[in-house]
Each structure stands twice: as structure tokens, then as C-alpha cells.
């Protein structure tokens, strides 16, 4: 199987073109216990994130002065892949991803605002279909915002690959296994800073700028989607609290939101059904 077929103007295996993201759906505030929570779907990759804190440092041994202690835990559900498999917590692979995730969010969180306290972030991959790391970063961003933790800006992650001369954005599991380099970037899209960057395979330096640009473009696109989702969520929450129109929004955005709302509502129904399923699982 090829990463990119030449017919139909160059289509990937799932019917996307090189620069197209998978469908993203997300929700904020899915749990009431935690201080902030979010659920995100990027194609078939589904991730749940919960944020606790800032709260006093639990483990008295660890002393961090002047900045907040970030504890990031990554885990995958036993049913997240095709094969059901118990996944031990704290193994090498998970720890590595946890560390990288912590690095990514640390770049965005204003750590100096809450000295001598800690923030716990838990992400659980419910279904894995490529780009787990990216979905986790995006879910954590949403959950942190939901928790009201001060951040410099969103941290958004996206992966990219290269098929021949065409860069591909947002790599699915199938594309990951088909070979080709896999570049994962967590970026602060507004300032254009890169928080984490990882490349899974040898890639000639000459190709890197193109692939990186592609991944950054993907980050910017995802940022726009997340931003809309958060604003929409805020309107909902604000409306419920009677703040309604006072919430400041540009005229244009409001119109756009109105249009999108109708579409989204149908999906929301579907989503809430899914939430129920998930919780029973």
C-alpha cells in the first residue's frame, strides 16, 4: 500500500489529501469531579483528559520553589487498540510520553503564578488510531483551559510525514505503520514557538523544513478549531449563568457560531450518547 495514490489528484488511504486534517470533535467539562476536563476525537483517536489543581503539593518530598509542579500521567485503556491488552502504568514507553507531554504543557502554563502548588493532568487514550501524543496535548490544553489555569497561549500538537515530495499532515495509525518519517510537533501557534519536536525516523535535513512547515500549519489549523470550540463552550456556560450577551464576542464570530451551532447540535446528541457509553465502560 502506498501513502499516497496518484489518482484523484493524490489521495491518502482514507480519502484525505496531503494537507487535510482528520475530523476533530471536542467537548469541555465532561467530568464534574475534576477541576477541568475535556474529551477530544481526532479521527478515530479518542482521548479523555482531566486536570486537578492548582493544589498544594501532595508529596512533601518534592519541593519546587518559585514555580508550579506539573504532574502529567499518560495511559492507554486496555481496549484502546484492536487487540485487548493490559498496559502497565509507568513502563518505559508511557513514562517517556508522559515526560514529553509535561514538557509540552510546561511551555504554555504560566508556572510562576502558582508557586508551591501542583497541577495534575491525567490523559487516557480511549481509542488509538495514530497521533496519540498530539491528541493528548490537545486534550490537555482544553482541560487546562476548562480548569481556568493561566496559560500563555494554547499548546497544540500535530504530526506530519512525507510521501515522495508531498508532506502529509495528521498521520493516522495506518500511515504510521506504512513507513515514512513521522514528525510530531507541539507548538505555541500564535507565537510560532515549538515546545516539543520528535522525529521517528531518519529524514534528510533538506526535507525537514517542508515537513515541519506542514506540521506547524496543522497546529495552526487545529488551534483554530479548538479556539472555536472553546468560545462556543464559554457561550453555553455563560448563557447558563445568565451572563449572556455581556460576554464579549466579535460580531463576526457570533454569526459564525450561530451557523455552526445547528450542525453541532446533532453531533452533540451523538456525543452525549457516547459519553454515557464511555462512562459505563
Amino acid at each position: 500500500m502506498d501513502l499516497l495514490t496518484e489518482y484523484g489528484g493524490g489521495l491518502r488511504n482514507d480519502g484525505r489529501r496531503g494537507h487535510e486534517l482528520r475530523k476533530i470533535r471536542c467537548r469541555l467539562g465532561v467530568f464534574s469531579q475534576s477541576d477541568g476536563s475535556a474529551y477530544i476525537e481526532q479521527g478515530n483517536t479518542k482521548v479523555l483528559a482531566a486536570v486537578y489543581g492548582p493544589r498544594p503539593v501532595r508529596n512533601k518530598q518534592i519541593k519546587v520553589h518559585g514555580s508550579v509542579l506539573i504532574n502529567f500521567q499518560y495511559s492507554m485503556a486496555v481496549f484502546s487498540t484492536g487487540e485487548r491488552k493490559t498496559r502497565p502504568r509507568g513502563d518505559r514507553k508511557t513514562s517517556e510520553i508522559s515526560l514529553q507531554l509535561r514538557q509540552a504543557v510546561s511551555a504554555a502554563i504560566m508556572t510562576e503564578v502558582h508557586p508551591r502548588s501542583q497541577i495534575d493532568i491525567f490523559v487516557e487514550v480511549l481509542q488509538a488510531d495514530g497521533g496519540n501524543f498530539c491528541a493528548c496535548v490537545n486534550a490537555a490544553t482544553l482541560a487546562l483551559i476548562d480548569a481556568g489555569i493561566p496559560m500563555r497561549e494554547y499548546v497544540v500538537a500535530c504530526s506530519a510525514s512525507l510521501a515522495g515530495d508531498t508532506p502529509l499532515v495528521d498521520i493516522s495509525h495506518l500511515e504510521e505503520t506504512l513507513g515514512g518519517p513521522n514528525l510530531t510537533v507541539a507548538a505555541l501557534p500564535l507565537s510560532g514557538k515549538v515546545a516539543v519536536m520528535e522525529l521517528s525516523q531518519k529524514l534528510h535535513l533538506d526535507h525537514l523544513p517542508r515537513v515541519l512547515d506542514c506540521a506547524l500549519k496543522g497546529c495552526a489549523d487545529i488551534h483554530a478549531i479548538l479556539d472555536t470550540a472553546i468560545k462556543q463552550h464559554l457561550i453555553k456556560v455563560a448563557g447558563a449563568r445568565g451572563l449572556g450577551k455581556k460576554f464579549h464576542l466579535g460580531q463576526q464570530t457570533q454569526n459564525k457560531l450561530k451557523n455552526d451551532k445547528e450542525e453541532e447540535e446533532e453531533e452533540d446528541d451523538e456525543m452525549s450518547k457516547k459519553d454515557v457509553e464511555m462512562i459505563t465502560l
Binding site: 489528484g9 488511504n13 478515530n44 484492536g82 488510531d129 534528510h204
Partner: protein, 974 residues
């Protein structure tokens, strides 16, 4: 962003594993018709008003193909008659899955702009995607998808242009007609075309009721795939590849993995329709039914209507009780796991019943059975060499069914025979397609200043090239100049082919497929288009060219101080021939910079050569000859052995040095995926014939290491027989294994050794114009020095191993083709001649002498027959000699033989050898001078016919360092 957001699931069940994949449907996919103005017109391929040659369907229409049509009728589709064809993605994937060769041919058709094939991406089109219904088979679903596309096109083009669905599947056709679509089979479509007549012959004939009829079936039923699977699992069946016997068409063997001896299969039932190369399932017979190979030659003399089983079969049935000692494991083929059919060259054997359209085809390859074909063009085709493909082999038919693919030309014509040998050796030799040629640089081509600034400018150096006369693809040039510190600077400049052939382009794919330039006696099959090989890459004299340079600093005694690599621009001062270069070196009055440069090179080369020999490099020999051709008729006039000059060896040494230096560099930088070349150490058992032969002449050969062998070969000289040493070397060459390309990550480093050259590491760098391996090495080296980018396939161990496999295969085939071409020309040469020649006995066999004739470099078998009165041969196995009366033949004895060509079999002309001296009454023939018309062809049809360049020749073949190429290049110089 996404235009259509409908989200669907696609399940794929394999190992009780559920895989869920996303599947996006789009609304921006084009229908590909010029008629339509809704869709993206950039992709429009199908004509607005397709012309219809059809009598039945007079409306303009496009054709929609089903998988079965493509798989079975690709030969017919390749004819330019049918145009404006829609192939849907579903079908394309199915074809790819079922047959990669057909897929490749289909892709060629799709890329050909004249044929107007359009690939419609139905699976991602929001209106043509169909979901598989519960309980529906995948085939039914695909058929439905096809009909859905047909319906959609009809609606989309609002019936201005109709769509005709071509399928062989009756059910699909009925369903399509039911839905109001036009549908028919390809045979009925072609038969009503006004210009369809020549296409009819090319249609493949598949019998629908293949395995059903029990009555008058000649062969046992094949086991079903599930039965075979179960059988192999339970070990009642064995899986292996079937090899037909060359001599006996009712015998063959199956080489099974995990079963050390090949399993013998005999008789029609035993062979059960297997064809050479097929992967088969075989059932071992009980031990008391085991048998031995029959020592007779059986040729299938069967005619068309002779379907009674024949007498040979019966004869085989009453098995003589074979002595237990000779018995071999015997089995019966119960099923075919995978067919390995290809297209076969051969001639037609006309049906004795005049006017019949069914004929038998006799393939040139003796291992392949005759094939039934149907054609109405027998009158023209019976005198031609033709190509035929097998379609099926039903139970009731004695021969497989096939169809005519194309004619090559009249039998016996040199061009036709060349074509045959290229086809039979699987050498891709078609013209380069327009797509490939479109990737060539635009002419007139010049080196831009930008390009120069990126490279080292070596135009000031006095570089020259030394090649055989008439060479047009000059891929190496040299220079040598003294440095201030007393050392010498030596540069080898290789044509920078990788600058023109970029990875992943069709040009690159084509070159990778061809792998090597094939040199025939009168023809060269280029690996890259002529513009590159003969002009832009070729380092011609006094022209600026791009090169990849290796530059050493060497001390006076040829030790390397430093080596560097760079992409460069050079201007060769002169393109010399070996002879010219030799003259310049030898003439002391010449004091030009080129002359001093050449002398310096020559001096260093001698030191390098000596050092290499001291390390144990072998000097091997194989009889090489060249033909002098008539410039008008291109018939061979004269045969001469080739000559070696000092300058040959000079160029050779520096090429070896460059190759080794580059090999070290790329292996150092890319330990996992460097493309290298190794020559394995032959197992000691291989040397036994050589040692025996030498021992009988009183020489002891030490074969424990390459160095020992080289020394003892040097010592084995007989003053009275100057050719003795050469013959020993010829035999030694045949003991060797083949040198192969490999990817460094796949082989232990201790196995990198090149035995023939006595080098610990080796690669090919110096001939990128004619070898693809060199292009890969160039790319690797360019990546090492930062001159070029890498790409995934270059760094992928598996991909490069697969590439190596193809390169090795093509190289081998190219060598065989080259030899076959020499054999062909030898035959042409002897067509009008009967000649006496001196030769030497190379081997003594039970019933024959293997005779080598140095003048023609050919080897033939002289059969020793005892049918004349007073002639009886005694074979002494211990002494390895044959005697008749007081005449005794040992190996290496000189003989005189008479050569003539036996043309009684048009497909297999063979050289016949007859003894002239020493004279044996009743056996030897008089010398040609007083030879009357001698029609005695009693050697015809014997086992092991004297074929010049027999099979043994093919075993030992390794790198004769670079010389081969130079010699071969000679040949094309008519």
C-alpha cells in the same frame, strides 16, 4: 479542509482482529470527462465525443471494465483499438492485489495519454461509495460498486455519452441489464467492432467449466485451496516449486523446502498440468512405488487431435522394476498453489487439417509443454516466431489453452532471434516510454553557473579517458599530477548520472527495473535513454561535463595518504582508446601533460596490481571472443579472440581502487544500508573437479585460500601445452560462486569479503551509465558528503535488499543473454561453413568428450558412439579417460574436430562436432578438404546435444574486475 464530512467505518477481519479505519467521502472528485463542466476539467481525459466503431452500440460511449476483463484480457487491452476507458479504483486495487504484473501493465496503459484511460476514484466519491451489506460477499459488493459507478456516469453525463459495462461475469451482466445499463462480454463487444478482427486472436480463452466434467478428463482433479492448506498443515502434502525436465516432457521434480532431496514426478497423472516454475502441492508415494528418472529423451510429438494419451504415457506406466539403490522419492502433484506463467516465445505447428483455426504452439523453451492456440492468421504466422500466453489448462485438454500475443518476425532472421533471446531472458528492452523520456533534461543543455558554484571546478585539470574504440558511453576519466610535497594526486572522475536521474521519477523506476545495460554481440540495450548514456553523461573529449570525482593523494609507492570525494565539473582533454593510450605511453618523444599523466598512472597501476596479486587476487579466464561483422548485412564474418593491453589493466586498477575507497566510505557512513558487492568463498567441494584434473597432469593445487589458489595456478604451467594454464583457469572460474550485490545491514561483516579480488569490502561505483547499483552508490556517497538529499527508500534496509535482489537477477539474466547472443552469432557464422578446428579435451564423460575450441571460445560435446563396426569405447572412470583401440583421450589432450551446424530443428539449431584427428577408423571423419556431402546427422536428437555454451558455463561467474565490460564494449564496434 474537508469538503465532505460523512464518516464511515470500514471493517477488515483478519486474525480475529477488528480494525476500524476512517473513510472520508469527498465531493471534489472529477469524473474525467471533457463533456462535463461541473467537475475539475484539469483531470479530464475522456474525449467529449468518443468515436464509436461499434455496429451495435452506435451512440458515443465510454467503456467500464471489470476486474476479470483486465486480468484475463490485458493483452487485448494493450492493443490501441479500445480507447476511452474508465477504470474504477475498486477494480484497480483488486487487480493490484491479484496480479502485480498485470497491474504494472495496466498502469502503463493508464499513463499513456493516447489511450485515454481514466481512473475514477469511486471509493471516496460521496455518490458512488457503496457499503457492504451484511452477508454480501466482497465480490458481490465490488460488482455492485461497479454498477453504481455505471449508473452514476449515466446520470452525471445525462446520457449524452453512454457507458458500456464490460464484464465476463454473467450474473453481473444480468443485474446490470436489469438496472437499465448497457453491458456485454468483451468477446461480443469486440466481435461487433468494425476494426475488431485482429483483436479476436488476442482474446484469452478461459473455459468456464474447468474442473467439473468428469467424463473424458485426462488429468486427475486438482485439490481445492482449502484441501491443499489442510494437507500441507497435516504434512500429507508437501509444497515446492516444480521443475520440468529438459529432456523428458513427462518427467520433472519438485524441490520442497524441508525435504533435502527433490521429489520426482512422472507421467501425466504425476505432473498433473504443472508447468515449469509453478508452486505446487505434491503427495509423496509409498516407498515401494518410488522410481528413478528415465534415461531417455522423450519429445512430445503429439498433434492436435491426438488426445488418446499417447504411447509414451503407456510405456511409462509399465515401470521396469527399478533397483532399490537408484530409487528416488517419487510423488504426485495434487494441486497448484501458484502459477508462474509468463509469455512464451516459439513457433506454430500448423494443424494438419487445413482450414482449421486451432493450432499447436511449440515453445522455444523445452521445459514448457505445447500450447493450444486459436488463430485465423495461420498463413502468415506459420513462418514467424510468435509470443503466446497461457490462459488455462482444463482437465479434458491434453495441452494448456493459450492465445496469440504478438509476432516477432520471420524464423531464422537475426533480429527475430535477438528478440527471442531478450524475451526468454526476461530483459526489458522496449523503447523508453514518453513518460520516461519527459524526465530528461531539455536540449540544448548547458551547465549553469549556479551548478558550477555548487561543485568543485576541476576544468583546469588535464583529465583524459581511456576506453575501447567506438565507445560512446564513457563513464570514467582519469588524471594524475605531481604535488609539491613529492606525492602524486590521482583523480578518478565518474559520470554524474545521479544528477540527471532523480529518485522516484519514472526515469529512475525504469532504470531500476532494467538494472543494467545489456550488451549483445550486435546490439546494446541501454539502461538509461540514449541522450544520457551517449551524450550528457558521457565524458566526451573537450566537452564540459558533470562528474563525481574521487581524488587521492598517493605516495610514490602507491600508498594512499588521503582520499576525498566531490561533485565536480571537468573537461576531458582527450577520449583515448587503449591503443592510443598505449602508444602515447610508449613513445618517449611525447612530453605533453597527458603523456606524463598517463605514465604516472601506468606506473602506479603496476604497483597496485602487484600488491593486489600478492594479497591473493585471482586471475581467472573465460574464453572471450569477438565477431567481425559485415557492415552491410550484419552477418558475422570472422571470429577473433580478444586482446589485453597494459592500458586495460591501468584503467582497471584505478577503477578497483575507486570502488574500494567508496565502499569503505559509504559503509562507514551508512553501516545499515550501504549497497556493496561481495563474492563468497566457494565451498571446498566446488574445487574437486579442478583438483582432479590438475592432479592427473601432475600438479597439486592448493585451494585452501584464494592466495594459495592463485599461487598454485601460477605454478601449473606445461611448456609443451601453452593453453594448459588457461584451461585450468577456465575450469577454476567455473568452480566460483556468483558475486552479488547486498545491503550491508543484512549480512555479517565477515561475509563482505570479495574472494576474486581479495578485497575485504567492495562495491560498484565506476559505471553508473550502465549499472543501476552504481547510481545507488552515487546517491549514498553524495549523501555522505552533503551534496544530495537522502530519501526513505535509500535508507530502508528492506527496500534496498529487494532492489539488490532485482539487480542480481537482471545481471545474471544479462550475462546469460550476452552468452546466448554469442552462441547465436556462432550459429549464424557456421550456417554456411563446415570447418576443421583445433581444440582441447576439457572433460571426459561417460559417453562423450567435452571439447573446448579456443579460437571461437566455444565448447561442444563430441559424442562417442559404438555403432560402427570395429569401434568400441572403453571408459576408465579412475583415470578419467576414454580409449578406442590404441587411441586414448585424457583431459587437456589436443584434438582436431570438424564443426558444422545442424539445422534440422528450426528452434534449436546446434553445432555438431565430429572427430578429425587423431584418426580412428570407422569413427573419425576426413578433414574438410576431401569431405563429400556428409548427411550423417546421427547425433541429432541425442541426449545432451552439443550446444555451444552449455549449461555448465553458467555456473561459475564472478567479477572479472571490469574487464568484461571493456571486452563487451568491443563487440559493438562492428
Amino acid at each position: 479542509m474537508l469538503t465532505s464530512k460523512t464518516f464511515l467505518k470500514k471493517n477488515k477481519r483478519g486474525n480475529v482482529l477488528k480494525i476500524v479505519r476512517e473513510h472520508y467521502l469527498r465531493d471534489d472528485l472529477s469524473c474525467g470527462s471533457e463533456l462535463c463542466d461541473e467537475c475539475d476539467s484539469k483531470e479530464a481525459i475522456l474525449e467529449k465525443v468518443p468515436t464509436s466503431n461499434s455496429k451495435q452500440y452506435t451512440v458515443p460511449h465510454y467503456l467500464l471494465l471489470d476486474t476479470n476483463i483486465i486480468l484475463q484480457q490485458i493483452d487485448a487491452l494493450e492493443e490501441p483499438t479500445l480507447c476511452n476507458i474508465v477504470v474504477i479504483q475498486t477494480i484497480l486495487q483488486e487487480v493490484k492485489h491479484r496480479s502485480s504484473s498485470v497491474y504494472k501493465r495496466l498502469k502503463d496503459l493508464i499513463t499513456n495519454p493516447n489511450r485515454k484511460f481514466y481512473v475514477f476514484v469511486n471509493e471516496h466519491h460521496h455518490e458512488t461509495y457503496v457499503e457492504r451489506n451484511p452477508g454480501e460477499s466482497i465480490n458481490d459488493r465490488n460488482d455492485r460498486a461497479l454498477r453504481r459507478v455505471a449508473t452514476w456516469y449515466e446520470e452525471h453525463l445525462s446520457s449524452h455519452v453512454r457507458v458500456i459495462l464490460l464484464t465476463e461475469d454473467v450474473r453481473n451482466r444480468d443485474l446490470a441489464t436489469g438496472e437499465g445499463l448497457l453491458s456485454c462480454s468483451i468477446a461480443s463487444y469486440i466481435s461487433q467492432l468494425t476494426n475488431g478482427e485482429p483483436l479476436l486472436d488476442k482474446l484469452s480463452k478461459i473455459d468456464a467449466a474447468v474442473e467439473t466434467s468428469v467424463k473424458d478428463s485426462l488429468y486427475p482433479l486438482h485439490a481445492t485451496p482449502t484441501e491443499i492448506h489442510a494437507g500441507i498443515k497435516s504434512k500429507t502434502f508437501l509444497q515446492g516449486s516444480f521443475q520440468a525436465s529438459r529432456e523428458n516432457f513427462l518427467e520433472g521434480q519438485v524441490n520442497c523446502e524441508g525435504y533435502d532431496k527433490p521429489i520426482l514426478v512422472q507421467g501425466r497423472d504425476g505432473l498433473n498440468r504443472a508447468i515449469d516454475g509453478d508452486t505446487v502441492a505434491v503427495r509423496l508415494l509409498p516407498e515401494d512405488q518410488w522410481s528413478a528418472p528415465l534415461e531417455l529423451v522423450l519429445e512430445d510429438e503429439g498433434n492436435m487431435e491426438d488426445d488418446e494419451g499417447g504411447e509414451e504415457g503407456k510405456e511409462l506406466m509399465k515401470k521396469k522394476s527399478v533397483p532399490v539403490a537408484e530409487r528416488r522419492p517419487t510423488g504426485q502433484i495434487v494441486g497448484i498453489i501458484k502459477r508462474k506463467w509468463r509469455q512464451y516465445c516459439g513457433i506454430l505447428q500448423a494443424n494438419p487439417m487445413a482450414g482449421s483455426s486451432r493450432h499447436l504452439f511449440v515453445p522455444a523453451e523445452r521445459k514448457i509443454p505445447k500450447i493450444r492456440v486459436e488463430t485465423r492468421q495461420i498463413a502468415t504466422l506459420s513462418t514467424q516466431r510468435i509470443v503466446v500466453a497461457i490462459d488455462s489448462w482444463p482437465r479434458h485438454s491434453r495441452y494448456p489453452q493459450g492465445h496469440f500475443v504478438r509476432a516477432l518476425g520471420p524464423i531464422g532472421d537475426k533480429d527475430t532471434e535477438n528478440e527471442v533471446l531478450l524475451l526468454e531472458h526476461d530483459v526489458p528492452h522496449s523503447k523508453f516510454s514518453d513518460l520516461v523520456l519527459s524526465y530528461l533534461p531539455q536540449m540544448p543543455w548547458t551547465i549553469t553557473d549556479e551548478e558550477v558554484s555548487r561543485r568543485s571546478d576541476l576544468r583546469h585539470l588535464d583529465v583524459c579517458s581511456v576506453d575501447p574504440p567506438g565507445c560512446t558511453d564513457i563513464d570514467d576519466a582519469l588524471h594524475c599530477r605531481p604535488l609539491d610535497n613529492g606525492n602524486l594526486e590521482v583523480g578518478v572522475h565518474i559520470a554524474d548520472v545521479s544528477h540527471f536521474i532523480k529518485p522516484g521519477t519514472p526515469l529512475d523506476d525504469e532504470a531500476a527495473l532494467r538494472a543494467t545495460t545489456v550488451y549483445l554481440v550486435d546490439k546494446r540495450i541501454d539502461m538509461v535513454p540514449g541522450l544520457l548514456s551517449g551524450n550528457l553523461c558521457s565524458l566526451r573529449g573537450n566537452e564540459e561535463r558533470l562528474a563525481f570525482s574521487v581524488i587521492w593523494e598517493l605516495t610514490e609507492d602507491a600508498r594512499i595518504v588521503d582520499a576525498k570525494f566531490c561533485k565536480s565539473v571537468i573537461r576531458s582533454r582527450a577520449a583515448l582508446t587503449y591503443e592510443q593510450a598505449q602508444l602515447i605511453i610508449d613513445d618517449p618523444s611525447q612530453q605533453t601533460s597527458i603523456a606524463t599523466s598517463l605514465r604516472g598512472l601506468n606506473r602506479l597501476a603496476k604497483i597496485l596490481k602487484k600488491r593486489r596479486m600478492d594479497n591473493g587476487a585471482l586471475v581467472l579466464a573465460s574464453p572471450e571472443i569477438r565477431f567481425h561483422m559485415d557492415s552491410e548485412t550484419h552477418e558475422p564474418l570472422e571470429v577473433v579472440a580478444k586482446k589485453m593491453r597494459e592500458t586495460n589493466s591501468m584503467v582497471e586498477e584505478f577503477m578497483l581502487l575507486a570502488n574500494i575507497t567508496v565502499a569503505e566510505k559509504i559503509f562507514h557512513e551508512f553501516p545499515d544500508n550501504a549497497m556493496l558487492r561481495r563474492h563468497p568463498v566457494p565451498p571446498p567441494a566446488n574445487f574437486e573437479p579442478l583438483q582432479h584434473a590438475a592432479k592427473r597432469q601432475g600438479f597439486e593445487l592448493n585451494v585452501s585460500t584464494g592466495k594459495d589458489l592463485a599461487t598454485s595456478l601460477d605454478l601449473a604451467v606445461k611448456p609443451d601445452n601453452p593453453y594448459f594454464n588457461t584451461m585450468l583457469r577456465i575450469i577454476a572460474t567455473r568452480c566460483m560462486l556468483q558475486a552479488v550485490y547486498f545491503s550491508s545491514g543484512m549480512v555479517q561483516q565477515s561475509d563482505f569479503h570479495h574472494y576474486g579480488l581479495a578485497a575485504p569490502i567492495y562495491t560498484h561505483f565506476t559505471s553508473p551509465i550502465r549499472r543501476y547499483a552504481d547510481i545507488i552508490v552515487h546517491r549514498l556517497l553524495a549523501a555522505c558528503i552533503g551534496a544530495d538529499a537522502t530519501y526513505p527508500a535509500l535508507l530502508d534496509k528492506k527496500a534496498s535488499t529487494a532492489l539488490c535482489y532485482n539487480l542480481n537477477y537482471r545481471n545474471r539474466q544479462a550475462q546469460y543473454a550476452g552468452r546466448a547472443s554469442v552462441a547465436l552469432h556462432t550459429h549464424l557464422f557456421f550456417r554456411s561453413r563446415v570447418q576443421d578446428e583445433d581444440g582441447y579435451v576439457l572433460y571426459v564423460r561417460k559417453n562423450a568428450l567435452q571439447v573446448l575450441i579456443p579460437k571461437y571460445g566455444l565448447e561442444g560435446t563430441l559424442f562417442l558412439r559404438c555403432d560402427s563396426p570395429g569401434v568400441s569405447w572403453t571408459y576408465n572412470e579412475k583415470e578419467q579417460c576414454q580409449s578406442c583401440g590404441n587411441v586414448v583421450f585424457h583431459s587437456f589432450d589436443p584434438v582436431t574436430v570438424q564443426l558444422s551446424l545442424d539445422r534440422s530443428n528450426v528452434q534449436h539449431e546446434k553445432l555438431v562436432l565430429k572427430l578429425v584427428r587423431p584418426v580412428i577408423d570407422g569413427y573419425s571423419v576426413p578433414s574438410v578438404g576431401n569431405n563429400t556431402q556428409d548427411d550423417d546427422v546421427d547425433m541429432v536428437g541425442e541426449k545432451n546435444e552439443a550446444e555451444a555454451g552449455g549449461t555448465e558455463k553458467e555456473q561459475g561467474d564472478c567479477d572479472q574486475p571490469e574487464t568484461k565490460k571493456r571486452k563487451k564494449k568491443n563487440k559493438k564496434n562492428k
